[in-house]
Amino acid sequence: MGDSTPFVELRGVTKRFPGVTAARDVSISFFRGKVHALLGENGAGKSTLVKIISGIYAPDDGQIFFEGHPVRLHAPVDAERHGVAVVHQHRTLVNDLTVAENLFLGQLGPCWSVFRRANWNSRAKELLATVELDVDPSTPVRDLSPAEQQLLEIARAIGRNARFIIFDEPTTSLTPPECEVLFAQIRSLRERGLAIVYISHDLEHALALSDEITVLRDGAVVAHEVGLKDVETVVRHMIGRTLDAGYPRTRTASNDEVLYVSDLRSSRLNGVDLQVRRSEIVCIAGLVGSGRTELLRAIFGLDRFEVGDIRLKGSAFTPRSPRHSIDAGLGFVSEDRKQQGLVLELGVSANLVLGNERPLGRLGFISSAREKSLVQNAIQSLRIKASSPRTQVGTLSGGNQQKVVLGRWLARSTQLLLIDEPTVGIDVGARAEFYRLLDEYAAAGGSCLIVSSDLTEVLGLADRVVVMRDGASVAEMERSEMNRENLLRAMTTVAA
């Protein structure tokens, strides 16, 4: 029966935006019981296809078939009715509501019906069991870890009788053990006969998990393969060339101390000690919730700390505000580029120079010539894909948005960059590019303190690693001692 009819099929789908064609005559079939990976560079059009299938965008051309029947989707609810569910990269849960309320939001019946908490809670327990998520349905969602929230999103999809689940970059900010839990769930969904679409820039994971792959470039399908397990081939399809080994190392760390942190304590930090030297890249490894982000925020002056010393280049430094830290030579890239990095309504250009307009002009007026040349430089060196410098940043693909945030700091005269999850959502090509830029930055005398959940990245990038657990720095490793096992052990060992 139906196994030869795809569950969802796109035929000749095209979608144009002003200045770009995000989908170009795309034909793909998605089958039940299969995990189908959609791969491609930043801006290749993956999310656009997802939005077309889930009824957010209407295609300009082409048709969508569900179980062999042509359908027109007018709104996301239409897609939902056909069993489509999307687990977005950014969480769509309501933080203040409980697990149970989030599970059934929008399905609670008409608004005059009485909400019977006990009833829903017991239904919630059943659903949570299907994804092996062991939490109390009445806990607020904000108390869940990112991985648990991810599983909750899956449970919600199952609760809505989803038969086709799309995962758009689900592993960003998940640590390896958490990823494994997620993968196990995806595999079991496949066993149950759901059709799965999996989008990720982590090609190894994607290939390990998927049964077939489709590679997109500039909105068009450039390859479709079944059972491929070779990363290099995929990369060639994606960017049209092979990449040389990813982590250049032209810098030589000096002994000059740039940042010195001693016994830093706050409500979320329980004693952090670390140093960063000139031309050095130090990574912070740790599980989600181990206080890594809080540490960067405290150093940058976004959060207060109660106890502890920070020294910058030997002199005491008490961060007061971002402005103050920036003047002292710091820069900060948050993990949440939409909320804490970009101004989505503004253009690429305005975002690239944000906070740094003063040197571009005189008497408060911005010189557009100087702005243009600075921006052109950044766009070229980072290969930001935007139809024009004035394009709204909110319409760029995720990876290109990230490049804009990074570009802003690279264009400023900073000595120490604090970067939280630098390559979230960045494609392989851009990632290599970015590692090269960081190395260049360090070779020119800059230093980096980088939080990353991607151990491969940590191992490749770091000159030294500081491991954090429960808000404290618990281990430090030089390059010679660094390996996956050591790191994982230090990250997860229960404090004695």
Partner: protein, 330 residues
């Protein structure tokens, strides 16, 4: 040769398209609405499209345009100001008293009134920027405080007898042009330049679009809000001088409801009430729509109560139209 023609037409096609794209931010809908309203009024009422009447509309619109330009900055920065009408009334009565009882010359009077406006704006701005109180609450309070201050200052009576030289900005005529119209145009150009060309303007959009991101990028968020309110306050002072000139007296009850007209003009112009999106061009068209409607319907002899109903309806319709248009580009 033919290639150059092709290129040219392609060039204009592209620029036309990008112009249409941008027209949203520049109040394209508002401009279209303004043109349509003017056409209809011209057909219905021959009196409408005469130079004397149009200059009259301009004279009447001047105060609203000046105040709305300031309001645009405030709304773009993600704030709101409900107290502009009251601030204007207080400035006007203080100005009237300085010029009459105080016996000050015109230049000092005008300078002091504008300074008073800026001071009032600075107080609001400081409360919002550093004390961290929501602008809705600060200015809601200020609305009654300032109105009360204006009434107390005059004991509730108007202050008449403002000398002609003080009235010049609201009353004078240069080469057939009403001076208030010139003042409003200068303010409009200045605010347009400020928003598009200066660091402060960039920061206003950025803070309104995403305060957290701006803060992290090193934008002086608090100062941006402070300056926004201070400048808008100074414009209120200037508008008070114009109003004083037009009326020839300082009325503590003047400019009631002006804040709502100004907000309406900004929203009609396509700005987002949540900040970060909009332009002062849109606001200009929005303010002119309100002024033209008022004038045209007056000429047609429509009852002033009905005019209120129509004005309100038009505001909702215009915003609805914008929504529908935005939705259709899905």
């Amino acid at each position: 040769m033919s290639t150059s023609v092709v290129k040219e037409s392609k060039g204009t096609g592209l620029s036309l398209r990008s112009l249409l794209m941008k027209s949203d931010a520049f109040g394209g809908t508002a401009l279209a609405a303004l043109v349509i309203i003017c056409l209809v009024l011209t057909v219905l009422e021959p009196q409408f499209f005469t130079s004397s009447n149009l200059l009259n509309v301009g004279r009447q619109a001047a105060v609203l345009v000046i105040v709305s330009c300031g309001m645009t900055m405030i709304i773009l920065s993600g704030n709101i100001d409900l107290s502009v009408g009251s601030a204007l009334a207080l400035c006007a009565v203080v100005g009237a008293s300085l010029a009459t009882a105080g016996g000050l010359d015109a230049v000092s009077t005008i300078g002091l009134v504008i300074a008073l406006g800026a001071l009032i704006g600075a107080v609001k701005g400081a409360l919002i920027a550093w004390a961290g109180i929501n602008s809705f609450i600060v200015t809601l309070g200020m609305m009654t405080v300032l109105r009360g201050a204006a009434l107390t200052f005059t004991g509730g009576y108007p202050i008449a007898g403002v000398p002609d030289d003080v009235r010049y900005l609201g009353f004078g005529i240069v080469g057939g042009f009403p001076v208030p119209l010139i003042v409003a145009s200068v303010v409009f150009v200045a605010v347009a330049l400020l928003l598009s060309k200066t660091v402060l303007g960039r920061h206003i959009y950025a803070v309104g679009g995403n305060e957290t991101s701006s803060h992290i990028a090193g934008v002086p968020v608090a100062w941006t809000k402070f300056f926004t309110f201070t400048i808008s306050g100074a414009l209120c002072g200037l508008a008070a001088v114009v109003l004083l000139g037009r009326l020839g007296a300082g009325l503590p009850t003047s400019a009631q409801g002006l804040e709502l007209d100004a907000i309406a003009a900004v929203i009609l112009g396509g700005a987002s009430l949540f900040g970060g999106r909009g332009s002062v061009f849109g606001t200009l068209f929005g303010a002119l729509i309100l002024a033209v409607l008022q004038n045209g319907l007056n000429l047609l002899g429509v009852n002033s109560f009905i005019i209120q109903i129509l004005s309100g309806t038009i505001i909702i319709l215009a915003v609805l139209l914008d929504r529908v248009r935005a939705g259709s580009s899905r």
